[in-house]
Symmetry: C2
Subunit: 342 residues, 2 copies
């Protein structure tokens, strides 16, 4: 049973993309899961009925699985993260995350202000014992199978110890959500040899050998599209959030650019869409912020209803597999209440 809260007001196409995504998700999710739409109640109710036509009418009928939670304020994309948390305690972001601290919800998803979501998640859900920072874990399409890349933007200057923590977090995520057994971890660098890389990466390469993860060594930029090297596939790619964010945004942009070039040369657009479908980010819907004692899924600001639906499914999976509890255990927490923030 997962109770998944969704920031109805987050993202460039809010509230409609969020609400339509939630309605689609209700139809597809196992019946024990419920959704909580967080935002101004009147706006949400109005949009739910407006969007409840065709297939979605059936979803709206499942009213007992779709709760509306009142939150009058909205944190805008332009708001300063930390200031917004303080000045807007009744925003959909803060209210939605607080549901978890109150034990009323199991996961939160937003396509809104990412900085505010990171700050609010860290402050409200708190970090697992021993962690200094959370990390955004993005699923990265490859020609083999998706990889987890983290950190993909939460942290810019990371220590080697923090990269090791990212490896542990990513390994649990790959195990629980992607179903990878004993996931293989690669460290993103500029050469396979352990002495290649910047100072932090070289130190992390040494630390990862005794970090309790299945560490394969360094991988290079060229191994990313292939999902691994000739030494085998990779499940988790560890890097700092600066490199991770640059690579991620580059990757997001390159598919459409190539599509455009190929269409100009007469390649049929529908063939292109089918061929490159698995490079489509909305397939994954969102990236969890790992390291906090709760589930906080960050969706792209431009998320479509389909992306939101997939983010909801991802969140459900993290709850079903008890990922947060597993992360706590992997990090050596022994107080038994990891995943149930006070």
């Amino acid at each position: 049973l997962a109770r998944i809260a969704l920031d109805a007001m987050g993202g460039d196409f809010a509230p409609d993309a969020a609400i339509a995504g939630a309605l689609q998700a209700v139809l597809e999710l196992a019946p024990e899961h419920t959704l909580q739409l967080v935002g101004p109640t009147n706006v949400i109710r109005e949009r739910v009925s407006a969007l409840s036509t065709g297939d979605l009418a059936a979803a709206a009928a499942l009213a007992d699985r779709l709760e509306v939670i009142e939150a009058p304020d909205v944190i805008e994309m332009s708001d300063k993260p930390t200031a917004a948390l303080r000045s807007k305690p009744n925003s959909s972001m803060v209210v939605g995350l607080r549901l978890q601290t109150e034990g009323r919800s199991d996961a939160f998803i937003s396509a809104g202000n990412t900085g505010a979501q990171m700050a609010a998640s860290t402050v409200l859900l708190k970090l697992h014992t021993g962690l200094t920072r959370p990390a955004i874990a993005t699923l990265f399409p490859t020609s083999r199978q998706p990889m987890v890349v983290l950190d993909s933007g939460a942290n810019v200057d990371c220590s080697a110890q923090e990269l090791v923590q990212f490896a542990r977090l990513g390994a649990v995520y790959a195990e629980d959500v992607l179903g990878r057994h004993n996931p293989i971890v690669g460290l993103l660098s500029i050469g396979e040899e352990s002495e290649k890389g910047n100072a932090v990466v070289k130190e992390a390469n040494q630390l990862l050998r005794n970090a309790g993860v299945n560490f394969q060594g360094n991988i290079e930029g060229r191994d990313l599209p292939a999902g691994g090297s000739d030494r085998g596939p990779i499940d988790v790619v560890v890097c700092d959030g600066f490199v991770g964010n640059v690579v991620l945004k580059f990757y997001e942009a390159i598919g459409p650019m190539m599509m455009g070039m190929l269409q100009k040369h007469g390649v049929d657009p529908s063939t292109l869409r089918i061929a490159l479908k698995h490079l489509d980010y909305s397939e994954y819907g969102g990236a969890p912020l790992l390291g906090v004692r709760g589930v906080s899924v960050i969706s792209h600001g431009k998320s479509s209803p389909r992306a939101i639906k997939n983010a909801i499914k991802l969140a459900a999976k993290t709850v079903e597999t008890r990922m947060i509890e597993h992360i706590g255990r992997r990090l050596g927490e022994t107080n038994g209440n990891a995943g149930a923030p006070a």
Copy 2:
């Protein structure tokens, strides 16, 4: 008049790729340019005659434009750069670069051991006054026009001051070799705003405002395939060699990966090749090591004859435009002998 030395023994397909590339270049280059093939004389002569069939026979006839320079040793890909310089003073790499210090040559190209080429270029050609490091300047195909990305792998941990030097070096390269007037410089970061980035990038953003370059501000990973943002095109992208190398290798790998996916879905391979032709790295042939007082072009180890030919043309262009002199001037050298190492 450019005298261009080519390491005949460097690269995975040496000596044939180098020699065939040189023969093709002789046919296409303006007649005032000459080539110097550096390596074991007997091997080179034997391969020149073996490869001189068909179109290339005409090239071989131009013997006065194709000099062979004896260098019995070869630095292997597996050799440690600095050790190899000392232990193999008669290698094609060292002999080829030394031609410039002796005033007998204007440029050097190798597809061999990159680390050794960087070390040998720095030691033999010396750095321009005020520089602490050289940078590899790679041409990056985009959907607009190629950009210069530097550093793309020579330096892993860079200071903000070094990033500023890279901006100056890259601007002269873009001006002279790409013909860009007052080239626009972007700093690779994780957000457009000047306060986004890691500590070094944030400091560099401030320094670049008064660095005598046409600085547009931060750019993001998503701006790379497009060759700029909605604020306009970019000519020079500045980043440290860790990020630059990861992005470059990622880019090199993604074209073939997408080609493979599209072919699987029945898209005609020849259409793909034509459409994605300008993403082909051999189009550019090589990346100069900027910052040294001479021309040292680094080619990919897997360079084809065509890539070598294009590297030779690039080297010729740097000599024709007196790029090294311009770099010296831009860096404030006033001794008038920049580009003519002692």
